[in-house]
């Protein structure tokens, strides 16, 4: 890899701002993620994590700021450019958002056919490969309603991976899951990280963040108020907002 690509972030957001319903939701957020990095967004409910992630692939159009994919500025007015941005930036949602009328395999293959213009045959083969990777090749013919939450989220991961994205955005991928199903999804994401996938993930899984994040960004009221490597933010005795936030989460969990 040459010097230039080493220094160009895969995805860069500059001074993103967004108001919704007349209320500022995000103010002046900037973030650069480099190849193979995993940025973890944490923060209380309503902090704006989901809104920010959706600004990063223009599912929500930011009011201000700009996005650069591999150093190229995305112009939001250009529909083709937006579609190609979304094609290259994968997204995993909290509530899976599988297509209810398609089997697991079709869920993965449909965008290959419609967006990547692959032949049906190649798309199906590729879909099987991706399902295999998340351990679901034997569930390929089942519909979303026939899958557990954990399996649905793994299909969603396969669906995103099949597009060969340059970066994947994950919005609390395990929050909607029963506790016993969290592990299988985190394992799939860990596998991605190990494979060098670039990711930006909102999560409340502290151990996961500690182990895998290159940087933790703590968000509150639409702003990043603390950022740093997990080793420093979560060091024993560190008096950081991040540390306090996780301590409270742990306390709440043991309380109920």
């Amino acid at each position: 890899m040459n010097e230039a690509t080493q220094q160009t972030p895969v995805l860069e957001a500059r001074n993103i701002g967004k108001s919704l319903g007349g209320r500022p939701i995000l103010s002046d957020l900037s973030l650069s993620v480099y190849k193979g990095e995993m940025k973890v967004l944490i923060g209380p409910s309503g902090a704006g994590k989901s809104t920010f992630l959706q600004c990063l692939n223009h599912l929500i159009t930011p009011d201000t700021g700009e996005l650069l994919l591999n150093g190229e500025r995305i112009s939001p007015a250009n529909k083709g450019e937006l579609r190609s941005l979304r094609e290259r930036v994968g997204m995993i949602f909290q509530d899976f958002n599988l297509f209810d009328h398609l089997t697991a395999q079709e869920n993965v293959s449909i965008a290959l056919v419609k967006v990547k213009k692959m032949s049906r045959r190649d798309a199906s083969l590729r879909a099987m490969m991706e399902l295999e990777r998340v351990g679901l090749s034997r569930r390929a013919g089942l519909y979303p309603a026939e899958l557990s939450g954990g399996q649905k989220q793994r299909v969603a991961i396969a669906r995103a991976l099949a597009m060969d994205p340059e970066v994947i955005l994950l919005d609390e991928p395990t929050s909607a899951l029963d506790p016993e199903l969290v592990g299988e999804v985190l394992a799939a994401i860990r596998e991605l990280a190990r494979g060098g996938m670039t990711m930006i993930m909102a999560t409340h899984q502290m151990d996961f963040a500690r182990a895998l994040a290159t940087e933790i960004l703590f968000m509150e009221k639409g702003a990043i108020i603390e950022r740093g490597a997990p080793a420093s933010l979560l060091a024993p005795g560190a008096k950081t907002r991040t540390q306090a936030f996780f301590a409270r989460l742990v306390a709440e969990e043991s309380a109920c």
Binding site: R86, N97, F99, D100, H101, K114, V115, Y143, A145
Partner: protein
């Protein structure tokens, strides 16, 4: 009593002819009405507000005015403005307009019921709006709308008899003409009724079959 001979040689052939004319109205009205309903329903959900309001208004008028009056209007009033239809054309147009308005109601409801998250997921994968609508939303919405649209088609089979008032002599018209000549009201109207019942039963059976064929686990009308 109506003699058996007359029944088989006069009544049944006349009703069969009427049935043929009825079907020539019902089948195109059902097909075009449904497709039109899908288009209008989609416009009422996705079109820009101005178009949406026009489509809503159109459906409001069609649903709010008696069909009989609409048919009279098409056939007797429009010629005053130089627009002339044959009885068949006027009836067909009236039924298509009516049917598509009702179908659009079911389609609209079904479109609105599709979880917004799936739309987001489609966009996040790089789908265009048209691809999203054609590949994700419409296939699901049509399944959801199927029971309602099926009902509308059953209604259509019955209200197709209104074509009689535009002098388009279909099944009901033939029955009426037969009784005018023979006065066997009970037998003839009863038999004509059985024809309609057969058509609606067949339609209901076919629609049930279609629902079964397109059923997807955990989707649509769960019982």
């Amino acid at each position: 009593m109506l003699s058996l001979d007359m029944f088989w040689n006069r009544v049944i052939p006349a009703l069969n002819e009427g049935l043929f004319f009825s079907l020539s109205l019902i089948i195109p009205s059902a097909v075009i009405g449904f497709l039109g309903g899908v288009c209008i329903g989609a416009l009422r959900v996705y079109a820009p507000p101005a178009v949406r309001r026009i489509a809503d208004f159109h459906v409001g008028v069609i649903r709010g005015v008696p069909l009989l009056l609409q048919l009279y209007f098409l056939y007797y009033a429009l010629p005053k403005w130089g627009v002339r239809f044959s009885p068949y054309q006027a009836a067909l147009l009236g039924f298509i307009l009516c049917s598509s308005a009702y179908h659009s109601e079911y389609i609209r409801g079904a479109l609105l019921s599709i979880r917004q998250g799936q739309v987001k997921a489609a966009y996040a994968l790089g789908f265009s709006t048209l691809q999203m609508a054609l590949c994700i939303v419409i296939p699901q919405a049509v399944r959801r709308a199927l029971p309602g649209c099926g009902n509308e088609i059953i209604y259509l089979i019955k209200y197709s008899s209104l074509a009689y008032v535009l002098t388009f002599i279909e099944l009901t018209g033939h029955a009426k003409e037969l009784t005018a000549r023979s006065f066997h009201y009970i037998e003839i109207y009863f038999t004509a009724g059985m024809y309609y019942l057969a058509m609606t039963s067949l339609a209901a059976w076919l629609l049930g079959l279609l629902e079964k064929k397109t059923r997807i686990p955990g989707f649509g009308a769960q019982k």
